[in-house]
């Protein structure tokens, strides 16, 4: 474990997010301690798309929770735009799509999306319009007035996606955003996300289990080892978009799959 200098200056603000020697323990149900993250460190340069790959339970969601300021590391530092999350951070520029959808059951789809806009002073009508437009982007234009229990699993996660996009955040944290979508819908969503990224240039961190998805979307891929989560491999993807189906992308996917399979010796589930 490293000691951080007591008066460390705010680090490079060109990094949208930075994890420095992050460690985290939890208590298990029986009271024993569980080491979840060990000395994790990597950067998310501003405007880049970083994908996190890693086995179930390796602390990926925990890491995103830290970036969102919901958890503090036991040890190490988490920096958002150069400021430590325990200090003053301009959180308003951050959007978080949780692993579960967290739709409020008492609000319709459009009102669930609109919820994210209720922080500011935007008028009710404009909120509704924007939420409705965002719903249309994720292909749910006709389901604005449905309650969550009237939607299918994939539809619910798209509502959550819309909610995280509607605020136009500068940093977008996404925890397995497309895992409940079929291939076709997923491809459409990828295209939409890349379009929005081109337009707005926000930084994106997303957790996925789909190597292909990581290759198609990410500028950089961080691979975690099993619990306690550590950075196992970090690589850049310097391919031109669109990558879907290109030979380079296919090769990279195959390489990564092989790498993961190779890791399986130390893969403990």
């Amino acid at each position: 474990m490293t000691q951080t200098a007591p008066h460390a200056p705010p680090s490079d603000p060109r990094q949208a997010l930075a994890f420095r020697h992050v460690s985290k323990h939890f208590l298990r149900g029986d009271g024993s301690s569980l080491e979840v993250l060990r000395d994790v460190g990597f950067d998310v340069p501003a405007g880049s798309v970083v994908s996190i790959l890693g086995p179930s339970g390796s602390g990926k969601s925990t890491l995103l929770n830290m970036a969102a300021g919901l958890l503090l590391p036991d040890d190490g530092r988490v920096l958002v735009l150069g400021h430590e999350t325990s200090g003053t951070v301009d959180w308003s520029r951050l959007g978080y799509m949780f692993q579960d959808d967290r739709l409020l059951p008492w609000r319709t789809a459009v009102d669930n999306v609109g919820l994210a806009l209720e922080t500011g002073s935007m008028g009710k009508r404009e909120r509704r319009e924007r939420a409705q437009a965002q719903l249309a982007v994720v292909g749910l234009g006709e389901f604005g007035s449905s309650y969550p229990h009237q939607l299918s699993g994939g539809m619910r996660s798209r509502v959550a996606l819309a909610r995280s996009l509607v605020t136009e955040p500068d940093i977008l944290l996404m925890d397995e955003p497309f895992s409940r979508l079929d291939a076709q819908t997923r491809t459409t969503m990828h295209t939409e996300l890349l379009r929005i990224h081109r337009e707005r240039g926000m930084s994106i961190v997303f957790v996925t289990h789909d190597v292909e998805e990581a290759v198609i979307l990410a500028d950089r891929i961080v691979m975690f080892s099993p619990r306690p989560g550590r950075v196992h491999t970090e690589l850049s993807v310097d391919l031109a978009h669109p990558r879907l189906g290109t030979p380079e992308a296919l090769t990279l996917v195959a390489e990564l799959r092989a790498a993961i399979a190779g890791m399986s010796a130390d893969w403990v589930i």
Binding site: A68, G69, L94, G95, F98, R102, P105, E118, Y147, H149
Partner: protein
């Protein structure tokens, strides 16, 4: 071929419901009437006699005047209880330090009988209309606080986290996450608070008031005018049923329309 399972079958159902309810009512009145044949009228007056008394009271204007006097007092106390109890309960439930600190205060408030509050009220407010209002307040408050508090503790932590990531202020989190989540708790609390508030306002009206249902009931009871006691009781009940069926139940149905039905 079956109709879509979700289609409403309301009309048929509610007609038969009304029918069954009327049947129950008729049955009850018949039972009462039969029982009254075997009891002296100062123990159990017959329904006819009570009806006559009710008509007399209505004609003299006494009935509505006293009902509304009491209703007004109850509503005033109830409103203050809601205004204090809902934010209070949420605060106690969402702030662990405060909650732990005030934990033992609630049973105390719960125990202190309304008669004792009435005495305090008289000392503090003298013989003003504040006295019965205060007594209703002190009865309704623990009901609302207890339920809201418990409801607040049952709020889904996931949703609170969501609000945090949306950078909601505390107030906004309360309004957008806590309030909708505790609504069912609030409803039982409010329903109880209103009922119990009504009951204690009757007690409070035996102190310093010279109008209201409580005052008249006590008087009738002390004078062993059992038919008047029954008449006032029935008038009250009718009013409560009207409030429940005409206001609370439809309001609840509207507010909880998002709920998925459990079919059993």
């Amino acid at each position: 071929m079956r109709a879509p399972t979700e289609a409403p079958k309301k009309t048929a159902g509610s007609a038969s419901l009304a029918l069954r309810r009327s049947a129950l009512l008729v049955l009850l009145i018949a039972a009462w009437w039969a029982a009254s044949l075997f009891s002296p009228p100062y123990v159990l007056p017959s329904p006819v006699r009570v009806m006559q008394r009710l008509v007399t009271l209505a004609e003299s204007g006494d009935l509505f005047y006293n009902l509304f006097t009491t209703l007004w007092r109850v509503l005033a106390g109830f409103a203050v209880a809601v205004a204090i109890g809902v934010p209070g309960g949420i605060l106690l439930g969402s702030n662990r330090t405060l909650g732990a600190f005030f934990e033992p205060v609630l049973p105390v408030m719960n125990t202190v009988s309304s008669a004792i509050w009435a005495i305090f009220a008289i000392i503090w407010f003298g013989l003003s209309p504040l006295t019965p209002i205060f007594v209703v307040l002190m009865t309704a408050l623990p009901l609302i606080i207890t339920n809201v508090w418990q409801g607040t503790q049952a709020v889904n932590a996931d949703f609170v986290e969501l609000a945090q990531t949306l950078r909601f202020s505390r107030l906004k989190t309360l309004v957008k996450i806590y309030v909708p989540s505790i609504l069912p708790y609030f409803f039982s609390g409010a329903r109880l608070a209103f009922g119990f508030g009504w009951r204690v306002s009757l007690v409070a009206e035996t102190l310093g008031a010279s109008s209201g249902v409580g005052y008249r009931l006590r008087q009738a009871s002390d004078l062993i005018q059992t038919d008047q006691v029954f008449a006032w009781t029935i008038a009250q009940i009718a009013m409560m049923v009207v409030i429940e069926m005409g206001l609370l139940a439809p309001l609840e149905r509207h507010l909880f329309r998002w709920r998925r039905d459990v079919r059993t």
